[in-house]
Every structure is written in structure tokens, then in C-alpha cells.
Symmetry: C2
Subunit: 140 residues, 2 copies
DNA sequence: CTGATTGCAAAAGGTTTGCATGAAT
DNA sequence: ATTCATGCAAACCTTTTGCAATCAG
């Protein structure tokens, strides 16, 4: 965690308590939270925190390549503390977002079909292993 | 086009003039239009057409598998008359959306990493061939 | 006829923006 | 002093919803 803070400092980021709170919460999280989820949790500890600050901090972290934003949900953005290229599945049963670590030889950065690809997001929709297992007992 | 209409009838779709207008416009289009783009064009010919009807018709066409919805733009939905699995690139220069017809062995429907994948959307962000060509002359 | 569809307008929800306050250097 | 971040609230846009009027079969 402390080398994350060093990294931010080196990138010239002014580290306010609010920003630290967002960074720390997000880097610990494994659930790809939305802005509002982050805001609601942090507000308990930092009652003066505003949603606009959460937005601007996430924008900043995205810009410097510390996190990535997902549009896998149609209605709102989710955030992933891991900025490296990987894919995601949204489970239609439990609504959770899972990281999908596969090395796709085609859907990747670089030249694809004469295009210069700089960023990739692959969104899979279906059922996660946990919900598949639950279904095995039932009919359906 | 007439076998499209037959197909809709066979699926039990009530064919109103508004729905026909949306279907015909979208099936001819190659630009992945947004709801508002569709609405603005159709309103010229059908002044009584409402945006709510465009929304509901697109929802209907999606449900019966005639079109697909893209979330490649962060702010609004785009629609693709081709419901088959294929991928897309959003060019950051011209803002156009291109179809990317590649056969990815990994990002596909079926079993992926112990998940049951029912739908796939791969969104590539970068520069399209036309804009790349334009850049060649310039320094950049 | 009768249920489905339409159009209108309002509501909802997420995101962005403007500006005054406040903190840091 | 000056710059930059914050918080608040309003504004903005897209999408959804409710309902009365209308239409398709």
C-alpha cells in the first residue's frame, strides 16, 4: 500500500484525505464497486466526503492508469482497481462482476483488422461458477 | 426486407407504422445509431413519432433477437442491426463505430473459465483505418 | 370489440458543471 | 498570494414510467 502512495506522489498527485480514502478503499475491494457504493461506504468514516470528489478522484486515478472503468452494467459505471487488460463477466443471477483472466490472441491491444487498438474491454454476460453450482440441485 | 417483415409477423410482433419505420431505418443503417439519432431522422417522415416508441421498439427488437444493443459509448446506447456475435471498435478520432469481424477462440459463448457465457460484447478503443491513413501525412 | 401500442409529460437516476469555500505550498 | 481540491447544488442527458387516447387484428 505504501508503494502505491509513493507511486501516486511520483505522478504528482496531491494526496488529500479524501483521495487517499478512495484509493485505499478501491485497491482493497474485489467487487468492482460503483461510484455510489464507494461514496456510501466512505461517507460513514468521512462524513464530509462529497460524491463529486469521488467522481473526480476516480477520473484522476483512471487518467494516471491506476484503475480502469467498466461499462459492463448498462446503467452505471463500475471501477476495477486492476488497470491491466483483463476481461469481465456479469452474472445475471447474482449480479456480481467477475474478473476473467484469459489471454486472448485476437482481442488485444495493437493492430486488429487494420485498426490501432489502444484499449480493450470484453464483457461477458451469463452465469458465474457459484450460481451454476447452486442450480445443479434444482430443476430449471 | 419483406422476409424480415414476415419474420416479425411470425414472431407475433404487431406491426405498426412506427415499428416498421424503426425496423426499416435500423436494418438499412451502417452507423450504429443512438436512440436520439433514430428518432431525429424518423420524426421528419413521421412527425407524430415519439421517442418513447423508439425506445420500446428497440427493446422489442432486441428481445426477439433481431438487433443488438451496444454499450461501447459510455454515455448512451447504440444499436446494431446485426444480432450475430461480432465485435466493435470506437475510433477516438472520428467517433465512428466499426464492426470487427474476428473469430476469437476464447472470447465467445459457451463455457469460459467455468462460467456459462450467454452473450459477449468486446469493445475496442483506438483509431480506425481511415483515420490512421489520414495521420500518415501529418507529423502527429 | 379488446388488448396492445402510442404519445406525451413527468420522473428517475447517473454524471457533469459552476462556484464559493477552504487547504496547502 | 496563488493554486488546487472540496462540497454543495443545480443542471444535464438518457432512460423509464404512468396514463389516457388510439389503433391493429
Amino acid at each position: 500500500m505504501s508503494n502505491l502512495i509513493d507511486r501516486l506522489r511520483n505522478k504528482g498527485v496531491v494526496l488529500t484525505p479524501q483521495r487517499l480514502a478512495v484509493v485505499e478503499f478501491l485497491k482493497k475491494s474485489t467487487t468492482h464497486p460503483t461510484v455510489n457504493e464507494i461514496y456510501k461506504v466512505l461517507r460513514k468514516k468521512y462524513p464530509m466526503m462529497s460524491q463529486a470528489t469521488v467522481y473526480s478522484t476516480l477520473e484522476l486515478l483512471k487518467r494516471i492508469g491506476e484503475i480502469q472503468e467498466l461499462s459492463i452494467r448498462k446503467d452505471k459505471a463500475c471501477f476495477d482497481p486492476n488497470p491491466k487488460l483483463h476481461h469481465h463477466l456479469l452474472c445475471r443471477k447474482c449480479e456480481k462482476i467477475l474478473d476473467i483472466e484469459v489471454n486472448c490472441p485476437i482481442i488485444k491491444k495493437g493492430k486488429v483488422k487494420r485498426c490501432e487498438v489502444e484499449e480493450v474491454q470484453a464483457y461477458l454476460y451469463g452465469i458465474c461458477p457459484a450460481c451454476l453450482k447452486k442450480e445443479h440441485g434444482k430443476k430449471e
